[in-house]
């Protein structure tokens, strides 16, 4: 493994994307080169994964000073938490190039850029660097949504962009506040994420900074009630963008919470965790219920994704090891399942020219492979044991019960809510009789089938044999909790309704 | 003694301000500005006297020179304005707004 592998994973796609944009390449060239680059990234990531030794600390560290007077540096590294988000991106993105063949050059170029930027945000070990990538990853989304989106794309574009930028600028202020506080407390400028955990933050300003971070991440995740950009954006965006947004970008929001908020603002976090947890749970239920009212399957998946993100975020707020590990696992599981579902939705839309659930029917009979794959992804998304979706959800619910019984029980309802709309949709789209729209539906081609096959297999493998993955995650998670034993690990909310059910801290 | 000079200077300055904001004729406005500059000059001279050095005089001369340059430009602008609209009312020139 060579030294700068993370840099290559980040900048290879970005540079390739930029190069595609500035050269008059044809769209075929764009697609092929995008595919090659993303496969190259995949190979590198897999190698990285194989060599990752799960020490819990950052690995593959790269460190180049940048603004020495402020301690800002080009500082990369991954641990068990970031590794999986990075992997999710690397594994999933090549599919887009294989499946969607007829898009414009800029589409593929932007995809490449967003892939690199997301990798950068995940690998960044310096807050400023993180912020840079965090913002950069929005730009391709902006252009893809605005250029290649649906008919109502402009308001959606504006909404997501302004919403997200507003959040992230608040985060910038909070980041700077952290750096300055570090300077004040240790008389040294530093913006390294890992150093911030040593900060002793109290008072109102710290609480404001905490919300600066939280709001930024809450918008990205999106956490109720900051989710209102999501239905429009997910629906109007071209499939690949929705895919990127839901499968990976939303996860980076959760990642941000784990990386920044939990270790740094331990006190504030412990104080507001219950509030945030309710926000997660309510969001899960709210979006899940809204999903049932959708006529458009893409929007339904959008709400479903938002609903799942609520539960994923909840895992972070429960502040125990099972829930947090569950969250990270669920991040990957959700990325694979929902991501693939969005791609399938894209295929459905491409082939039938409709997104209305009621216009379809009987596809299972016409396209058994497609239906099979769709069903597996759907079942993973509803958390069926034996698929990837179960492990994470189970651990999150487990942790939530420990954290607060009421929240745990509410979190459990995701088992029911998710399955309602999914089955209903599956029934209307895949079962029943076929009609004019679905009469000539073609099953997945060989290339498409082979494209999706690894992910479908991954979904099942991750459900049946998750331990190899978990063993890479747990050291980092354990480290996270060992860093803040006094506050976070001991915060257990007493259940006001049924005090005798409160789980004791051992 | 100095106070009297200063009072005069300030009164002139204020008159200049009032002229700028109340008059609409371009000429009068420029003259009002000249008045303000001259008020400053008066103050310079007066302070120069107080401090018993000639710096103030030099400064006044500089200001006058600059004022002259400004006035020259102002006249050119006035001519231009007149060419365009045949009027020297500042309110006429409000195409740029909003």
């Amino acid at each position: 493994m060579f030294e700068h592998v993370l840099s290559v994973i980040i900048f290879l796609p970005i540079l390739a994307g930029l190069l595609l944009l500035v050269t008059p390449a044809s769209r075929t060239i764009a697609r092929v080169s995008g595919l090659i680059i993303s496969l190259a990234t995949l190979v590198l990531s897999l190698d990285l994964y194989a060599n990752f030794s799960a020490t819990g600390h950052l690995e593959f560290v790269e460190y180049i000073p940048w603004i020495q007077s402020l301690g800002v540096s080009y500082h990369l590294g991954i641990d068990g938490i970031s590794l999986f988000i990075l992997m999710a991106g690397s594994v999933l993105l090549p599919m887009v190039y294989l499946v969607f063949t007829t898009k414009e050059k800029g589409y593929y170029a932007n995809l490449l850029i967003v892939q690199g930027a997301m990798a950068g945000a995940v690998c960044a070990a310096d807050m400023i660097l993180f912020y840079v990538f965090w913002e950069v990853m929005l730009l391709p989304v902006f252009f893809m949504l605005g250029l290649y989106g649906g008919p109502k794309r402009l308001p959606a574009t504006l909404k997501i962009t302004l919403y997200t930028i507003a959040g992230s600028l608040l985060m910038l202020a909070a980041i700077v506040y952290l750096g300055v506080s570090y300077h004040a407390q240790f008389n040294e400028w530093n913006f390294a994420i890992s150093k911030m955990a040593q900060l002793n933050l109290t008072g109102r300003v710290a609480a404001v900074a905490f919300f600066g971070f939280m709001i930024a991440f809450a918008i990205k995740i999106p956490l109720f009630p900051f989710h209102t950009w999501l239905p429009d954006a997910y629906t109007e965006a071209p499939t690949a963008t929705t895919f990127v947004l839901s499968a990976i970008m939303a996860k980076i929001g959760v990642y941000g919470v784990i990386r920044f908020v939990v270790p740094v603002f331990d006190e504030q976090f412990a104080r507001f965790a219950i509030l945030l947890a309710y926000s997660g749970v309510i969001g899960m239920m709210y979006c899940g219920l809204a999903a049932i009212a959708q006529k458009d399957f893409k929007r339904m998946l959008a709400f479903s994704s938002a609903s799942h993100m609520g539960i994923i975020a909840l895992g972070v707020f429960c502040m125990n090891m099972q829930a947090l590990t569950g969250t990270i696992y669920q991040i990957v599981a959700h990325a694979t399942s929902t991501g693939v579902l969005f791609l399938f939705a894209g295929i459905l839309e491409d082939r039938t020219n409709t997104r209305t659930i009621d216009d379809l029917g009987g596809i299972a009979a016409k396209a058994p492979v497609f239906a099979l794959f769709f069903a597996i992804a759907m079942l993973a998304s509803v958390g069926l044991p034996g698929t990837s979706g179960f492990i994470g959800e189970f651990m999150i619910i487990l942790g939530a019960i420990k954290f607060n019984t009421v929240i745990g029980v509410l979190a459990g309802t995701s088992l029911i809510i998710g399955v309602c709309y999914m089955l209903w949709m599956f029934q209307r789209v895949f079962f029943e009789k076929s009609n004019a729209n679905s009469e000539n539906f073609k099953d997945l081609s060989l290339v498409e089938g082979l494209t999706f096959l690894p992910v479908i297999i991954l979904i099942i493998v991750m459900g049946i044999y998750p331990q190899p993955f978990l063993s890479k995650i747990t050291p980092s998670v354990a480290l996270q909790f060992s860093q803040n034993p006094p506050v976070i690990a001991q915060t257990v909310t007493t259940n006001a309704l049924l005090p005798e059910l409160t789980i004791e801290q051992k | 003694m100095i106070h009297n000079y200063l009072f005069l200077s300030i009164i002139l300055f204020c008159l200049g301000i009032v002229g700028v904001i109340s008059r609409r004729n371009v000429f009068t406005v420029f003259m009002s500005i000249e008045l303000m500059l001259n008020a400053a000059n008066l103050a310079f001279i007066a302070f120069s006297r107080v401090h018993q050095n000639m710096d103030g005089h030099v400064l006044a001369m500089m200001v006058m020179a600059v004022a002259a340059a400004e006035a020259a430009l102002a006249l050119a602008v006035v001519i231009l304005l007149h060419k365009h609209k045949s009027k020297l009312d500042t309110n006429v020139f409000s195409l740029l707004k909003g």
Binding site: I67, L70, V180 | L37, F47, E70
Partner: protein, 472 residues
């Protein structure tokens, strides 16, 4: 003395160059082209000299020249670099601009260089009357440049407004100078500083009043609230390259001298910080609110210029008068200049004959017809909006860091909120360029390559500056 002259070499080159250009423009054989390139060469030479001075970096931070009237510091050098670069790009953009607009004479370039000489002087000035003279050298040249299109009533109206209000502000400056002179018997910064140190700032009404008036004049030139109203109209009336020039070089010069003046004494700065705080806040927000409703691109950019003035005022509020380096201000000025100049350079060749394209809607669908220009403009806008990895982001980052470091957390947060507000009108142009179908073809050929090249170079600058680290 020789040493002093060496330090002033860029200024001398520019001054001599300006006079030379003025003289040569009497010859009819010298057409606009030659003058344009001539002035560009003058700027380039001066820039390189300044750059070599920066790099060779004589360790003396405060090298006095001319008996303390002028001081060459790293800050002034940096500001000088920015101004010279702005001049360079402005002349080249103008060259292209005047292929489509025919009110140019060779004197135009001479005046550009003259303005630059005033600005350079301003960055170094450490004496109030020198400041005044430099200010007027600069302003008079800019007045003329604003109204250069004599046939155009808009342009004339712009110069009228600018002239009246500028002279009005100038009068305040002289009055303030007179007060300070009255109190301290000197107009040198160093003497004023000594006087305040011995007598105290708040004990001396003349110092308070005088510095107040001077502040007003600076705030006017920098277009801060409530002295901002002119800037919108004047920018609209002026030609695109000159608007860019005003927005960047002039602002750089003003903020340099403003900072120099403000830090001459700690108590002076402390006395005004409270006001500057509110002014900064109002400037940012008023600028934003004006920008929102604008249909004309230049008016929007003018209003956004007001907002950026607000950010720079944050930096001013946050400066530490005891260890003043001005690096944050200089960095922000450079970052802002790169973005703004870039846009105006692009407008110089995209505006069309007689600047027929000036509204947001006129640029709909530009990305299809001219993808590279649209991309460049987008990058500039993103830089102005402060989106990484552009220079504008780093500038904003430094400003916020310095503000929080100085304990001005509220100001930092308000600055952030303001940039959230500003996001929409920047994105609006990008959206117009990219996400709409073209209403026209943009098919006229670009008359000359210098403005496009400027645009391209500035794109590189936007990224290059962002990588350049500074010390706070």
């Amino acid at each position: 003395m020789t040493n002093d002259l060496m330090l002033l070499l860029p200024l001398i080159i520019i001054g001599a160059g300006a006079i030379l250009l003025m003289l040569t423009s009497a010859f009819e054989k010298l057409n606009n082209e030659v003058t344009a390139y001539g002035s560009a060469i003058i700027f380039a030479v001066a820039f390189l000299v300044q750059l070599s001075a920066c790099i060779s970096g004589n360790a003396v931070i405060f090298s006095e020249a001319f008996n303390g009237i002028l001081v060459v510091s790293n800050f002034s050098k940096a500001a000088g670099l920015i101004i010279l670069a702005c001049g360079f790009f402005t002349t080249l953009s103008s060259q292209t601009y005047f292929k489509q607009n025919n009110f140019c004479t060779p004197e135009y370039y001479s005046l550009t260089v003259f303005a630059a000489s005033g600005m350079l002087l301003l960055t170094m000035a450490q004496e109030l009357i020198t400041v005044f003279i430099a200010l007027e050298i600069m302003s008079l040249a800019i007045y003329i440049l604003v109204g250069y299109d004599r046939k155009n009533v808009i342009s004339t109206e712009a110069v009228l407004k600018y002239l009246i209000l500028g002279a009005f502000a100038g009068a305040f400056f002289t009055m303030g100078t007179a007060f300070i002179y009255g109190a301290t018997a000197s107009t040198k910064f160093i003497k004023i500083s000594q006087f305040i140190a011995s007598h105290g700032f708040s004990q001396s009404p003349a110092i308070i009043g005088g510095s107040f008036f001077i502040l007003v004049a600076f705030l006017f030139k920098a277009a801060a609230f409530p002295f901002h109203a002119w800037v919108i109209d004047v920018y609209e009336g002026a030609s695109a390259p000159i608007t860019g020039y005003m927005a960047t070089a002039l602002k750089a010069a003003i903020f340099t001298v403003f900072a120099n003046f403000l830090v001459l004494d700690g108590t002076l700065q402390a006395g005004w910080i409270k006001y500057l705080f509110y002014i900064a806040v109002f400037t940012m927000f008023v600028g934003n609110l004006i920008a929102i409703g604008q249909q004309s691109l230049k008016r929007m950019l003018a209003a956004s210029g007001i907002v950026h003035t607000g950010y720079l005022l944050i930096a001013l509020v946050a400066v530490d008068s005891n260890a003043f380096t001005g690096s944050v201000i200089a960095y922000y000025l450079a970052a802002y200049a790169a973005g703004t100049l870039g846009i105006f350079a692009a407008l110089s060749y995209l505006g069309g004959a007689g600047e027929k394209r000036k509204n947001f809607d006129d640029f709909k669908g530009l990305a299809k017809a001219r993808p590279y220009s649209a991309a460049a403009i987008s990058i500039f806008l993103l830089s102005m909006a402060g989106i990484p990895p552009t220079a504008g982001f780093m500038g904003k980052f430094y400003i916020i860091t310095s503000a929080i470091e100085a304990g001005q957390i509220a100001l930092a947060v308000l600055g952030i909120i303001s940039s959230i507000i500003s996001m929409w009108y920047y994105l609006r142009l990008i959206i117009n360029m990219y996400f709409y179908e073209a209403e026209e073809q943009f098919n006229e050929s670009v008359p000359s390559q210098s403005a496009p090249i400027c645009t391209f170079v500035l794109v590189i600058c936007v990224f290059a500056i962002s990588l350049y680290p500074i010390a706070i």
